[in-house]
């Protein structure tokens, strides 16, 4: 059994404000999103953000089982955030932890405002987020990829929800914390945002921030969300660009 107490790195940020992984303070980790990766789900997407690898799948809208959970005037969104046992440094038990249950709740509450649930009364939309590999900021990456999966399922939405965390590490305000930065830093603030309605749908913070730092970190996180948003749209577009390219070629060749 590997119960090594990992040696904490000496410094997380050097004198030139460069972080352990080479990033600047306000730089996000590289993000890659693929759409429609699972055959059975009505909608699905996969994200890689730094070392995070997360899969999201959507089933629905469909009849609710058990029936007594149905709402008469709208669809009920059910969400399960779960981490695979091998996703973290020390193997995690497959049973849902208290953290996973809390995150399932706040993630659900971050996505529901974006869905036109009133169009499908008495149905359920089931959302599954599986973290295959974790390195800090999994709930934000999870929300980002889940929103894309919902769009892939054809579920009507007001807007895509984009999420990103910001915080304070060794006295500096940073964007998109890794696991080691979160554990060794002074504050971590995950945030989810819907740009059209200018609304924050997820906001949590643990750590210590003054009132001014609080405002600055929120603005930093909003910036990260906007970047995530661009990646989401690009991913959805590129799924269909191949079809469009084929069409364009045919039109050029065959259109008489």
């Amino acid at each position: 059994m590997f119960k090594t107490s990992r040696k904490k790195p000496e410094k997380l940020i050097d004198e030139n404000d460069v972080r352990l992984d080479g990033r600047k303070l306000n730089e996000m980790r590289p993000v890659k999103i693929e759409v429609g990766v699972l055959g059975n789900a009505d909608g699905s997407a996969y994200i890689e953000q730094g070392k995070n690898k997360i899969l999201a799948a959507v089933y629905g809208p469909k009849e609710v089982h058990p029936k007594h959970l149905a709402l008469p005037d709208r669809a009920v969104l059910r969400c399960r955030y779960h981490m695979a046992p091998f996703s973290v440094e020390e193997r995690k038990s497959p049973a849902p932890s208290r953290r996973e249950l809390e995150l399932s709740k706040v993630i659900r509450e971050s996505l529901e405002p974006s869905i036109f649930t009133e169009y499908y009364p008495r149905t359920s939309i089931d959302l599954f987020i599986e973290v295959l590999q974790a390195d800090g900021g999994t709930r934000c990456a999870g929300i980002t990829v889940a929103s894309v999966a919902l769009a892939d399922a054809g579920i009507p939405m007001r807007d895509l929800v984009s999420a990103c965390a910001a915080g304070k590490v060794e006295g500096r305000l940073v964007l998109d914390l890794t696991d080691v930065e979160d554990k060794g830093g002074e504050a971590d603030m995950p945030l989810a945002y819907m740009p059209n309605v200018n609304s924050i749908t997820l906001l949590q913070m643990d750590g210590m921030l003054t009132g001014e730092e609080f405002e600055q970190v929120i603005n930093l996180a909003l910036d990260g969300c906007k970047q995530s948003g661009l990646t989401q749209k690009e991913a959805l577009r590129s799924k269909y660009v191949t079809a469009k390219e084929a069409e364009a070629e045919k039109e050029e060749a065959g259109e008489e």
Binding site: L101, V106, S199, I200, M208
Partner: protein
């Protein structure tokens, strides 16, 4: 659903009043309900306190055990917070294992205490790397009339302030209890302030009916020097960034007022 479901007519009334800056019970938008704090009622617990916030009632008990420290903090005591939404507190609470609501409540209370370093955990070390004190904070909700979060955090703080540890010495690897007590070393006084968004207005300390009408809630926990140590947004709605900034300022101010009810300077 439940018999506490507010009728549509009443919900509309609450909503309309709030857009005019008034609340059903006559409070201002930023007023708390009346608070009563009673400490030390459970003698078997090392510490306890009961808070009544309006009709919401929460009892917190603190118990000690000895256990192993976490590997990355070998010289520090351990804090564990648990919350129970006991069925007698509301027709909507069902018996059974903790559901997402009680887990969220426990974790918010935990964050406030932990991030503000309220308990001097370095002073709870018995044998470095081997044995430390584990502090169990159990939140027991007795009556739900809205804003369980603020009431629970206040009760937890009061209970910790009321907590006494027995004197001890370590002889040949064994813990020997000596006569006398000393208070649990407390370094900070975090206070949670919850605001609800109703009709685009921010309302402090939502009552049960207001919670049924609200779009969303935002809890901001403030420590003794005015720094923010925990934030949690809940509910299906959302806040604009402006509203979040406004809420944080209101929270800093209200936290200072509420703290005086529990902490005697």
């Amino acid at each position: 659903m439940s018999s506490t479901m507010t009728s549509r007519v009443r919900q509309k009334r609450i909503s309309q009043l709030i857009s005019r800056g008034k609340r059903l019970d006559g409070r201002e938008l930023t007023d708390y309900r009346e608070v009563q704090v009673e400490a030390g009622l459970i003698e078997r617990a090392e510490g306890s306190a009961r808070v009544r916030l309006g009709k919401t009632e929460v009892l917190v008990g603190v118990k000690f055990e000895m256990g192993e420290p976490f590997p990355d903090t070998p010289n520090e005591g351990v804090l564990t917070v648990n919350a129970e939404l006991v069925p007698l507190a509301s027709p909507t609470f069902e018996p059974g294992p903790p559901d997402e609501n009680s887990i969220e409540l426990a974790r918010i209370v935990d964050r406030g205490i932990r991030e503000s370093k309220t308990i001097a955990t370095e002073e709870l070390c018995i044998e470095p790397g081997k044995k430390v004190f584990v502090v169990f904070v159990d939140v027991y909700v007795l009556n739900h009339d809205g804003n369980l979060i603020d009431a629970s955090c206040l009760a937890a703080l009061a209970a910790l302030l009321n907590t006494k540890m027995f004197n001890y010495e370590v002889k040949e690897g064994e813990v020997k209890i000596k006569p006398g007590y000393k208070p649990l070393p407390i370094r900070n006084y975090p206070v949670a302030v919850t605001l609800a968004k109703i009709n685009d207005k921010l309302v402090v300390d939502p009552g049960l009916e207001e919670e049924q009408v609200m779009d969303a809630r935002l809890t901001i926990t403030v420590e003794k020097d005015g720094k923010i140590c925990a934030v949690q947004k809940g509910g299906y709605g959302y806040f604009s960034a402006q509203q979040v900034f406004e809420a944080s300022k209101i929270a800093q101010q209200k936290a200072e007022e509420q703290r005086k009810l529990v902490v005697r300077e």
